[in-house]
């Protein structure tokens, strides 16, 4: 048993594609609400730092997107009020809220995706696609902490030489500019050394191989199979037209029926799959602890 974030990157990748794929193509409010709620809970679970500012930003964006549509589009039969000789309709407002919920829900999922798919996992996937691309990316990724360390070294050296004053703002800015300039010179020289060293070791002569830290286990296969079967159930519901939902000129929705209900349930299970896994892992952990 592993927690959701420790599954094989390929499995996590497929999961996120199926959730966001359905969320982007569907217009039915039930599925939209499911994806939005699931996205919010998922981000709250995996964002360990709890940055509440982000949620406020999402909320403001939601309000702007929801208000944009009724101000631009004047379709619909139920007029709420008239603004500058332009009617603002209930249908356009609901359409705006629905599409805002779709966008914000998907943005929440992408945010969570960024938290779970750390750079090493993404490099694992890009490595399969193109090793050369993976090389450039991982080199640039490695340079960022290296530059930070070097900045500290340069700063200490400058301080040791007595060239650095903290109490004067203009002097502070000038010193920092000097440090940055030294850093760039060093980084470029260092880059050339790296390039020559790579050439000397035969870079570009043969085929590149990659080290990967991720194995493909039975639980990954099971996870992918569950994911795909739930996705199929939802997609069947979508293709059969059970999730059609029109806003203009009047709100009209297709009868969900058995196929639609099954599809909606399948999608909700799909969305809450990570939580089910986390819960099972937690229960097992408590059980094992109580046995000791």
């Amino acid at each position: 048993m592993r927690s959701f974030s420790e599954y094989n990157p390929v499995a996590i990748f497929i999961y996120f594609f199926s959730v966001t794929g359905v969320a982007m193509f569907n217009t039915h409010p039930v599925l939209t609400a499911l994806s939005l709620v699931g996205g919010i809970i998922c981000l709250l679970t995996y964002d360990k730092k709890r940055r509440y500012k982000e949620h406020i930003g999402f909320f403001i964006l939601f309000l702007i997107l929801a208000a944009a549509n009724p101000l631009v589009s004047h379709n619909g039969v139920t007029v709420l009020f008239v603004l500058n000789n332009n009617p603002v309709t209930l249908e356009a407002l609901l359409y705006g809220i629905n599409s805002a919920a779709i966008i914000i829900g998907v943005l929440y999922w992408f945010r969570t995706f960024t938290h779970i798919m750390t750079s090493d996992k993404l490099l694992y996937i890009t490595g399969a696609l193109s090793p050369k691309l993976s090389l450039v990316l991982s080199m640039a990724l490695r340079y960022v902490p290296m530059f930070r360390e070097q900045t500290e070294k340069v700063r200490n050296a400058q301080k040791g030489m007595g060239l650095f004053k903290d109490d004067n703002i203009i002097d502070d800015i000038r010193s920092n500019m000097r440090i940055y300039s030294i850093l760039i010179t060093w980084a470029l020289e260092n880059g050339i050394t790296t390039a020559d060293s790579m050439e000397a070791r035969g870079f570009g002569v043969g085929k590149r191989s990659c080290y990967s830290n991720f194995s493909f286990r039975t639980s990954d296969v099971l996870f992918i199979l569950t994911d795909l079967s739930l996705l199929t159930a939802t997609v069947i519901g979508m293709i059969s037209g059970r999730f059609n939902y029109g806003f203009y000129p009047k709100i009209n929705s297709a009868d969900m029926g058995a196929v639609g209900t099954v599809g909606a349930i399948a999608y909700s299970v799909l969305i809450f799959l990570p939580f089910i896994i986390e819960m099972a892992v937690n229960i097992r952990w408590k059980y094992l602890k109580s046995k000791i």
């Binding site: 050369k132 990316l137 470029l188």
Partner: protein, 228 residues
């Protein structure tokens, strides 16, 4: 790196990739069924950026050196994206384009977008950011003779590309929101984005003014010393 020997093939790639293939991938990818596969679109744009980059040199040794220098510039851009409000990415991309050639400028812009979005959030917009920054860097390389010595032209180019970036990103906003292109929505998106557009323009002008001379001198020195 791969070396492309055939000159006419190189020239074809230089024209086709930045102006036809990458825009088609970004727009087609966000419009058509491929939308949910956004990361694959971003990755394929990245591979095309590498192909374009390989079309920019003839000798393998130059290629490896230039690639590492580009990785350094990408890392600098990435670090610069953490500065609040004012982003030096476009300015640094333009400088790389001028001094290392348009192909390297495209690579730096596109790779910065995909790499920094590992931190700032990947999504279908990544493809458009890659296109916008890549083109800004590539065009800087195309006009490098004029931009290198003329400070006023350079700053004008910086301001112009700040607006261009906003225009390209708003195409994405409209495609995403309306499931198709509507001119009315595009114009209203442009109007609501004015504060952002201004911040792009201001940061481009400011950073080009500050960084062009010192960074340019360093890149020139490296080019003379090692023959990149």
């Amino acid at each position: 790196m791969i070396v492309i020997k055939n000159r006419s093939l190189r020239n074809t790639i230089r024209f086709l990739v930045p102006f036809i293939i990458v825009p088609m991938l970004a727009i087609g990818g966000s419009l058509a069924f491929d939308r949910k596969k956004h990361i694959i679109i971003s990755m394929s744009i990245a591979i095309f950026a590498l192909l374009l980059f390989s079309a920019g040199f003839e000798k393998k040794r130059t290629g490896t050196r230039r690639m590492v220098i580009s990785a350094v510039m990408i890392a600098l851009c990435f670090a610069g994206r953490f500065i609040p409000f004012l982003k030096p990415i476009s300015a640094l991309t333009i400088i790389s384009g001028i001094y290392l050639g348009g192909e390297a400028g495209f690579l730096v812009g596109a790779m910065t977008a995909i790499l920094s979005n590992f931190y700032f959030g990947q999504g279908p917009w990544t493809a458009f950011q890659m296109l916008a920054w890549g083109l800004i860097g590539y065009l800087a390389g195309v006009f490098s003779n004029h931009l290198k010595d003329n400070r006023i032209l350079l700053i004008a180019y910086g301001g112009l590309t700040g607006a261009l970036y906003s225009f390209i990103m708003d195409i994405w906003t409209v495609l995403w929101y309306a499931e198709g292109f509507e001119l009315k929505l595009y114009i209203s998106a442009l109007i609501t984005a004015i504060p952002y557009t201004l911040s792009y323009v201001v940061s481009n002008v400011l950073f080009l003014y500050i960084l062009k001379k010192p960074v340019g001198e360093k890149l020139d020195r490296i080019k003379i010393k090692y023959g990149v």
